[in-house]
């Protein structure tokens, strides 16, 4: 599994910044950024899982 510390920090930081904005466009930017970072972390977990799965190939034992 990939280390997910950075991914979680990115999402939390974007959410935190979103709540600190007064202006709608800035709030929306950070909200969309949080969604992007969450998706990015999900893609990383999928890719890391596939690397683990394909590396664990019993035919190559």
């Amino acid at each position: 599994m990939a280390d997910d510390t950075r991914g979680k920090w990115l999402v939390a930081e974007a959410q935190r910044l979103s709540t600190q904005q007064d202006n709608y466009a800035e709030q929306a930017f950070y909200t969309a950024l949080a969604a992007f970072c969450a998706e990015q972390q999900h893609e990383l977990e999928l890719a890391a899982g596939e690397v683990d799965g394909r590396s664990w190939n019993h035919e190559q034992w």
Binding site: A25, C37, L44
Partner: protein, 220 residues
């Protein structure tokens, strides 16, 4: 990249969807918002707008499974032989064509066995022909059903997706989206965030490369 956004809507000022898009585009450099509000086009000026744009985005609500009359009228008068195509082919090569389309019915009504009996993609087929005929590259459209029912989070995502659609060479590509977010963060003095986001994207690209190599190895 210079983008021309051609907006066709019979009651433009009263449209919450179009107002949302207009505000989303307001801060963008090199984007020209061009509502079709007049009956009499200055053809030379319209053609000049078209020819100087790298991307043309046609933006409209679906009306009877098509674009509203003002867009077709503009296309009929401005996009003519000698301007957008000639006997040798398309004259708008190198440009991209984008579509931003909204509608009020449920997405299911345009689904298989839905009450409309056709999909949104079916209604947009003429634009495939227009892109092919003129030599333009068609971008995957942005389709927005039931804007009024969208959550705040969905609207925020739509705003950013729309801004990327108007300004990125390949707005559907996630690496380009990641670079866009990093640039936006740096413009807001969020350099640490931008660096972490870029590192995360680099890790993802490396892992995907490893996956591709492992898959290729299994096929050997």
């Amino acid at each position: 990249m210079h983008t021309l956004v051609v907006v066709s809507h019979p009651q433009l000022s009263g449209s919450n969807t179009q107002n949302f898009f207009r505000e989303s585009a307001q801060s963008l450099a090199d984007v020209l918002w061009h509502p079709l509000t007049t009956q009499n086009f200055d053809l030379a000026a319209e053609r000049q707008l078209l020819q100087t744009a790298d991307r043309v985005v046609l933006q409209f609500p679906l009306y009877w499974y098509s674009a509203p009359a003002s867009l077709w009228r503009w296309l009929d008068e401005v996009w003519v032989r000698g301007v957008v195509y000639d006997e040798h082919g398309g004259l708008l090569g190198g440009k991209t064509l984008g579509l931003v389309v909204n509608y009020g019915q449920s997405p299911q009504s345009f689904g298989l066995a839905g009450q409309n009996g056709l999909s949104v993609a079916d209604t947009l087929k003429p634009f495939v022909g227009i892109a092919n005929r003129t030599g333009m590259t068609l971008l995957p459209p942005i389709v927005v059903p039931q804007f009024e029912r969208m959550t705040d989070e969905a609207r925020a995502t739509l705003m950013v997706r729309y801004q990327q659609y108007l300004t990125l060479m390949q707005p559907q590509q996630r690496e380009e989206q990641a670079r866009w977010f990093a640039r936006q963060l740096r413009a807001r003095q969020q350099d640490i965030f931008a660096d972490a986001l870029t590192d995360q994207e680099d890790d993802l690209l490396r892992l995907r490369q490893t996956v591709a190599e492992l898959r290729a190895g299994e096929e050997d």
